[in-house]
């Protein structure tokens, strides 16, 4: 079945440093979604990428969707302590209508 892998599993950075998490799917995706889960919280939708090669920005966050629509990345510039949490990518298949989540990357930011 479809699998979505994320690396790294954990990342510790000093406040102000950049952070990137990578996501790879075993199959071509209709779109990819990114979620953030704070400690003790539930996943919160951040963004959706649909087009091959698409790049979207939200303030210090930059999201990319690969040309083959099988991989994606999230880059945070100049991390802040408020960025702490687990970032999940989730691949959507229009054939099945369901999301398959990666295992997430947990970001810790040292002030």
């Amino acid at each position: 079945g479809q699998q979505v892998m994320q690396i790294p599993q954990y990342q510790h950075v000093q406040e102000g440093e950049d952070f990137t998490t990578y996501c790879n799917s075993s199959t071509t995706l209709s779109n990819i979604q990114w979620y953030k889960q704070r400690p003790g919280g539930h996943p919160v939708f951040l963004i959706q990428l649909v087009k091959s090669g698409e790049v979207k920005k939200q303030k210090r966050l930059t999201f990319q969707f690969g040309e083959a629509k099988k991989n994606s990345s999230l880059h945070i510039t100049a991390t802040q302590t408020t960025d702490v949490g687990t970032y999940f990518c989730a691949g959507y298949s229009s054939n099945t209508g369901k999301l398959i989540f990666g295992q997430g990357t947990t970001l810790q930011v040292k002030p």
Partner: protein
């Protein structure tokens, strides 16, 4: 407006018991999803409803798990003969029909002793 709500927030039960977990989605959202999340893992898909019907239940681990959405709004996840391995946070999410972002509820933490 109100977000997705789930009740109870915590449920402790004994092995072998039956439990029901409830999800109240955002009004107007026709798609409803159930996930299970264990510590350090991403949400694991269980079942997806479009309206009243289960469009995909391929994630349900076995026949002890069953979910309904009789009127196309509130959904109930039912687990029979609970086992310790069923302990996890059960998340519900809703969305508009199609490839849209999902809105998650706060989850129900199920502990099977």
């Amino acid at each position: 407006g109100a977000g997705v709500s789930q009740t109870p927030s915590n449920k402790v039960t004994e092995k072998g018991k039956y439990v029901e977990l409830r999800c109240d989605p955002i009004s107007g959202h026709t798609a409803l999803y159930w996930y299970r999340q264990s510590l350090g893992q991403g949400p694991e898909f269980l079942i997806y409803f479009q309206g009243t019907g289960a469009a995909d239940d391929s994630g349900l681990p076995n026949d002890r798990f069953f979910a309904v959405r009789p009127e196309g709004s509130v959904s109930t996840l039912k687990i029979q003969r609970t086992e310790r391995g069923d302990s996890a946070v059960y998340l519900c999410a809703s969305s508009l029909a199609g490839p849209y972002g999902q809105f998650f509820g706060p989850g129900t933490r199920l502990t099977v002793l």
